[in-house]
Symmetry: C3
Amino acid sequence: MQKTFHCRISTTSERVCVFGTGDMGRSLGLRLLQAGYGVVFGSRRPHSSSSLIPHGAQVLGHAAASQSAHLIFIAVQREHYDFLVPLANQLKGKVLVDLSNNLRKNQYPEANAEYLQSLVPGAEVVKGFNTLSAWSLQNGPSDANRQVYICGESVEAKQAVIAVAIKLGFSALDQGFLSVARELEDFPLQLFPQWRLPLRIAIGLSAAFFFYLLIRDIIYAYVTQSKDISFRIMVSLANKVCPIVSLIMLSLCYLPGVLASFLQLYRGTKYRRFPDWLDRWMLCRKQLGLLALGFAFLHVLYTLIIPIRYYVRFKATEQNRTTQFDTTTAWRGDSYLSLGILGFGLYVLLGITSLPSVINTLSWREFSFIQSKLGHLTLLLCTAHTYLYGWNRFLSSSTYKWYTPPGYMLCLVLPSVVLLLKLLLITPCVDRTITRIRQGWERGADQRNPKDSQPLIP
Amino acid sequence: MQKTFHCRISTTSERVCVFGTGDMGRSLGLRLLQAGYGVVFGSRRPHSSSSLIPHGAQVLGHAAASQSAHLIFIAVQREHYDFLVPLANQLKGKVLVDLSNNLRKNQYPEANAEYLQSLVPGAEVVKGFNTLSAWSLQNGPSDANRQVYICGESVEAKQAVIAVAIKLGFSALDQGFLSVARELEDFPLQLFPQWRLPLRIAIGLSAAFFFYLLIRDIIYAYVTQSKDISFRIMVSLANKVCPIVSLIMLSLCYLPGVLASFLQLYRGTKYRRFPDWLDRWMLCRKQLGLLALGFAFLHVLYTLIIPIRYYVRFKATEQNRTTQFDTTTAWRGDSYLSLGILGFGLYVLLGITSLPSVINTLSWREFSFIQSKLGHLTLLLCTAHTYLYGWNRFLSSSTYKWYTPPGYMLCLVLPSVVLLLKLLLITPCVDRTITRIRQGWERGADQRNPKDSQPLIP
Amino acid sequence: MQKTFHCRISTTSERVCVFGTGDMGRSLGLRLLQAGYGVVFGSRRPHSSSSLIPHGAQVLGHAAASQSAHLIFIAVQREHYDFLVPLANQLKGKVLVDLSNNLRKNQYPEANAEYLQSLVPGAEVVKGFNTLSAWSLQNGPSDANRQVYICGESVEAKQAVIAVAIKLGFSALDQGFLSVARELEDFPLQLFPQWRLPLRIAIGLSAAFFFYLLIRDIIYAYVTQSKDISFRIMVSLANKVCPIVSLIMLSLCYLPGVLASFLQLYRGTKYRRFPDWLDRWMLCRKQLGLLALGFAFLHVLYTLIIPIRYYVRFKATEQNRTTQFDTTTAWRGDSYLSLGILGFGLYVLLGITSLPSVINTLSWREFSFIQSKLGHLTLLLCTAHTYLYGWNRFLSSSTYKWYTPPGYMLCLVLPSVVLLLKLLLITPCVDRTITRIRQGWERGADQRNPKDSQPLIP
């Protein structure tokens, strides 16, 4: 115990060792110097390296360098780790921080940090700092990732490394034992893992509706009336695909929550896990919603530039006034636009409250009020906006070119289902049951003593 | 002292106990296991509970479980706390973390944590973690609230709990003594307390101006000309209410600051507290400003869809060119639009710099530059935008239907007053006095020795 | 060692002393009391001060107060520091926290904290908390800057101050030795140092293009056709300046990265520092990009209000249909608008991912994917948007009024160059070389043993 504490404080005023004088090693050394540490570099050729290293640091051979500090950063590529084997004795009891990354996933059978531990069994290996780039180390943790993830077997060793991280201005997060090292090493290689499924859904839906509408609008006009209106692809068609995909994505964002409620209602308990597909779906709701917002944003822009279009301006001058002013049409048109605006306003509000720093200022109840109550209201407004857009065209047979329904009709199916199910859930009798289930009540469990198996948060 | 330190480190590698195998208890236990703790659950029926608990944890009876750890999380509802009374002896000296929440405010006469302390006087009760949901515990502190609030009498006990919180990836904030527990227990129940007053003002203003304009525009046309233009409610009326409310809210956001300056000027000192109403008003300036931005955003959207409206397109074809092109009108119209755009641009900039994560990157001087200088500039641009909108209609008697001024005239009163007062404040002689007051100077206090009562930050 | 630990814990349950009962001192004292500290104010006239100080604190003379605590906050202006000289003996070994700020840069030859240290050489001076205002201290670190910066010679003293900062709800960042104090004292006085250069570029470009276009458009029409179209300044001219400046700023944001790659390619190594101007340029890329986004946002608003303008509505009614509908023009117009919309959508995405809290959730690879890949795609879309806007007017001699090219042609030069250079960089053979260089390969260095001088992160 005493020892740990000692090392934790003393590292600050004492020396830290860095093996490797490459980019990463030098950047780290510079930052350590700035934070007030003494830095000793370990190098194979100390004399030729000394010109490269930051001013104020020392360069020694590996063995000599390792003697000067309790904590040693290994800023060397994994392929060269074998130089550590002959040093195993000197490194006994030292804390070795493995900074290494790989160029691709599953490059090696085991994690670099585990390999390092196997080479120097007497040392206490801690994986960490590998999610930082040399650039962000040099320039401080102002803009780039401030978080540092570490893992390792020894609590004392991790404490010492956390202390250094904090001194350097990072906040360190202990991720557990060394077996997590592979995950940490994969982290810098990952590219939006949570966005993949939602992005694929968005692209798939966009492509499907694009071709559907291409056939119904452009090709239909060409085949039946020999008119070339292919120029409409760029704006008119895009402005149909965007709102359709946005509305479907938004209902996909709220569907899993509704399904989960019905599942709990059916099972009569909340203590059974959801099926895996539902769990995974629920975890990507945020991404689905944000993509929906992106498509809605494009829809708004595409709509607003309509009057500037050459085609529209040309039409306007051509148009002859043949009809009387129709108040119903005016009502319908203005309501349709107004609902769209209000829906988009709420949409943007949902987007803003998805920003990490805004979420952090919200209590749990506030967050769920916005994301659930306002979210369903947004869905309601956007769905009503689409229904008003369709208006009485649902009944006219000329709408169904080649016996196919128009895109906006297809995209209304899912949100209507979600809203109907949600309506069922908020009817008083169902709502009462679901609230009791969420507070821990279990159907058919009343005879059991539920004393300490009850949850605390509804 | 030694003991504290000992417990702080040793908890990490040792065991933590969780009483209660409900939702919250199990989620917490799982997270503790992932962070490398040994976890022992305390349950009334250890055998029947063991199937539910996360893999790797142990279940024992309450008495046996409490012996295995120094830190015990009480994940049981308050109604069942009495089972702890017979354990009082075993719990002596232990740290008990009260996780409980209530279903509504003032459900019980005293805070749950204080009640717990009264039941087990020998233990050191710490309130904490109750602002987290079981969901956010299970899924880690990535998206939901990362902050954990704790309070308690014993510094050592709180240190131990903070250490656990940090290990679990949360950042812990010590809020003081156990008397704060009630506040912490109310926190998850609160719903935008700071937004209530500004929201009520916004709704009140919207309703008032809606009915005022409904009478002046729609009903007036119906009564005097028997024309039904009720369809204008959806867009035209909304597009009058939004900018009016936005401008008034924005001036309400800057008025208290100006009033405070005049109060300091009148009193000749800054060392007297502002009246309570002014303090409360100043604390909700941010919310007033953000709501104003929301209304401005809707105003922009409502304005931009004007040319798409059926009514406007119908009018356009009907219109006969009767007038000559008027350069003054062109100047006025374009200036009016341009000021509106620049004002909205600054508005959005103010909104972005209100995001918590952006504020954190600004120095105090930068923050006040944006929120004060740019804020007043925004108000100036928006007010000028409205004046140009009115233009010479202020003088025409036909503007005053039923002897009432139009909405945009009414909404100009407050911003004009704020801008005039601000103008007074930045005249050199007044500015000099206010600056001296803010630097600690007091009128009539020159004979006193102001040595160590002077402030440091202007 | 033991002593340090002792003071770190004991300060929490014990007393802290504050010298000075001004604004700052009282605010700090109040906050310390709320966090559970005992607070003793040191004042020259303890009896007259006692009415001002927060309830629960004590006021004593300086000498008596200093005896009651190990940690003393000096909330007094620098001019009055001399009262500390006679107390030098009592202050020996105490931790003195210098909170002071100056009214302007370089007000004194040395930092206030260094001056304080010279007056009381036996004490351990720590600079800190000076970036906070009294206001943010009173109202807690919720909205204003949560970060506290400290520096000082003694590690133990800094640890004690960090512990207090954490208790008060701030996160403390150790910036190094006392020599950094001057920098910390200058911090509250700084006003967007990183934004200066980009802002100057933006203003310079705006002014240059404004006058260029004023001459080409307004004055040319007046001179050659005696037409007064000066009203166009407000919207038409603004809507030319905004997109031009935006596109140039965006290419200025991506040019330094491309130049750096070519420099590395030419040098055959990445281990030589970039020239200073390139380094400085690269550090303000974010600001350049965000300003470009601001101008693009204004351009979008200016474009969207076009159909509402009096001039445009007047023209529309005047217009006689003389031409046939031209599908090519429709294609060109719609593509131009569509590219602009998509470009702006990506632009906004880049802006959102520049928010500090969003950056923190991205891995390094994700961040560079967005800022580099999507950034260059944005530049490509916006450049194509501008080329389509020009269309065949590049070839028509009437475009070149007074032999000058129009603004959109001038602004295409830089983005075209950047895109061409980038295209060169991503051709397979060049890309292979640059990737090897970034992984640490050096041209002509193969004979050397590169073992431990290799970087770890590509």
